[in-house]
Structure formats: C-alpha cells, structure tokens
C-alpha cells in the first residue's frame, strides 16, 4: 500500500508515533516500539547524570538513531525560551536533526498547553530552520495560526496528557482537519485502541501516544493493538464510511422471495 505519511519532506509507512517514556526498562521500550511498528519515536532532553556508572546503558543503545526517526520534545517546558533552548540542544545532540516536537505546558496539574508561549516558540524555531510538529489545544484558530507560522504538523490533544480519556471533542478535530493544509495528528489522551481508530477515522494523518501503551498491563500487546487500530482507522477513513441514519427502511437481505 502506497498510502504514506509525509512529514517535512520525508515519507513514513507507519502513522503511529510513539513515546519512549514510562516503560519498565529499555528492553521493554524497544519491544513495545517494535510491536507498534512506529518509525518516529519521541525522546526527552534532560540533564545527564554525572558521577553515575560510566558504562550504564542509554536509550540510544536500544533505539539506534539510524533505525528510527527521533522526535525530541520539549516536555516539561513552561516558557517559549526554555522550549527553544531545549530544542537547540537537541539539534546539537542529534547531529543537526531538525524534526522536533514543540510543546509548551501551561499548568503542572493538567499539562494543558500554553498556546501563547507555544506560538512564540514556534515562530523562533521555524525561523531557525526547525521542522516543527506542534502539540496544541484543539482550537481551530490556534491550529491555523501554527500552520501559518510554518509548522510542518499540528498535533491537537484528544484529551489531557496521560489521561487516557480518549477523544473528547471530535467536532473541533474535524474542523481543524478540514481547514489544515499540513498533517494533523492527535497527540495525547488516547487510552485504548478504539480511540486511535476514531482519530484516524476522523481523518487524522497519524496518532502520537505514549502512556496508552506504556501503562497498559501488557505494553507489548497493546502496542500491537494500537498498530492495528491506526491501520484500521486509516483504511476506514480512505474507504469512506456509510452515512449515519437514525433508522433505515433498507435491510441488507432481499425483501422478496420470503416464504409464506
């Protein structure tokens, strides 16, 4: 199937993007990502442990950057300045890599995005040559402004980060998708496979998730479920669903030839 996800000039087979946090260990992280089929994986940028055991393994040993497309994020940043600084460090860390996930949070309890700071950071990053995939509220006007700034993808939340509450406002998502000329991906809030399928059926170009897989009882099995859900949802979207009707006088079986 040649239905590829195109982001910032590169094509991907998988429309499922996954995070690498909250797993038991790096081995489980890798196994879950393999089961998900994801090609794009998010990573966080954090201070290196100093004085720890020199030979301790790192995430990159388990997810070699030549096998996956890294999407460094700005998780934990509450200002545009911190987000920009973090991603400039990420670019240096990953040898000039420009594809990034911008997220600027507004509140530590809900992790809801601060869109004013997000927009300010997006402007700086785009000008600085980054390909910015941006986590945002499901506000169609904000999404459009981020597109106009030059972001390469908008990623509205389905519901709050880590909540697993699923898609709370499919109507806003549909407006964002209808108005967008860049890929729209759902980021955050997916709880189980049906949520991912619904996002794709609405016309999202992809889904980004972390906790839904990592916090499942069996993360590896859930990763496989999410892979199928994203594929199924995408195919259903492409196939074009039947119209919804409250009732139908058109049964699926012939209305003639009944015994009497």
């Amino acid at each position: 199937m040649s239905d590829l996800l195109n982001i910032a000039g590169k094509s991907y087979q998988s429309r499922l993007l996954v995070g690498t946090g909250k797993y038991q260990d790096f081995k489980q992280t890798r196994a879950a990502i393999d089961a998900s089929g994801a090609e794009i994986v998010t990573v966080a940028i954090r201070r290196t442990n100093i004085g720890q055991t020199a030979g301790e393994p790192s995430l990159l040993d388990f997810l070699p950057p030549d096998q996956f497309t890294y999407l460094p994020n700005t998780a934990g940043c509450y200002s545009a300045d911190d987000a920009v600084r973090t991603l400039r460090l990420a670019r240096e860390l990953l040898d000039g890599h420009t594809l990034v996930k911008l997220e600027v949070l507004g509140d530590p309890n809900t992790l809801y995005p601060n869109m004013i700071e997000t927009i300010a950071a997006a402007k700086v990053l785009v000008k600085d040559g980054f390909d910015v995939m941006v986590y945002c509220s499901d506000d169609p006007i904000m999404a459009k402004q981020l597109e106009d700034i030059g972001c390469c993808a908008v990623m509205p939340l389905a519901s709050l980060i880590g909540s697993g509450m699923g898609i709370l406002n499919p109507w806003n998502l549909q407006i964002i998708i209808a108005n967008a000329n860049i890929p729209v991906l759902v980021d955050a809030g997916v709880g189980t496979a049906s949520d991912a399928a619904i996002a794709m059926e609405l016309g999202c170009q992809g889904v980004l998730m972390n906790t839904a897989i990592a916090a499942a009882r069996d993360p590896i099995q859930m990763a496989g479920a999410m892979k199928k859900a994203v594929e199924a949802g995408r195919e259903a979207y492409l196939a074009g669903r039947m119209a919804k009707k409250l009732y139908s006088a058109s049964p699926s079986s012939p209305t003639t030839g009944l015994i009497s």
Binding site: G19, T20, G21, K22, Y23, F26, T29, T42, V43, A44, I45, R46, R47, T48, I50, G51, A54, S58, L59, L60, Y70, P72, N73, A75, R85, R88, L89, A90, E92, L93, L94, I161, A188, L208, M209, N210, T211
Partner: protein, 67 residues
Amino acid sequence: MQLTINGKARDFAVTQLTVAELVLQLSLEGKRLAIERNGEIVPRSQFANTQLAAGDQLEIVGAVGGG
C-alpha cells in the same frame, strides 16, 4: 576553578580546562551529549578548543525516554 554543571557547583584542581578535558574528567567520553555554556551551545567540534573560565554555567544534556 569552580564551574556550575547542571545546577551544581563543582571544583576542579586546574587553572585551565577545555570542554573536551571536562568531558573526560566527568567520565562522559563517548556518550552522546550536548553542552551549553553560559546559555550558548558549544558544538561538539569545538570541545577541544573551547577554554572554560571560572564561574561558567554549563548544562550537559542527553536523550532520555519521554512522550
């Protein structure tokens, strides 16, 4: 000289220190990392010829698991 590394003050019993030497002293050689000195990124290619000064603020970061 005293440097602040990742928010913590550290003393080094030398008067001259390059970023490359610091990386060795911290047993971070060979690790994939990025370094910011007083708010400016030091490119990896410049580690060997970037001299640190007492009071420098350094951030040394790497990639970790995250969503």
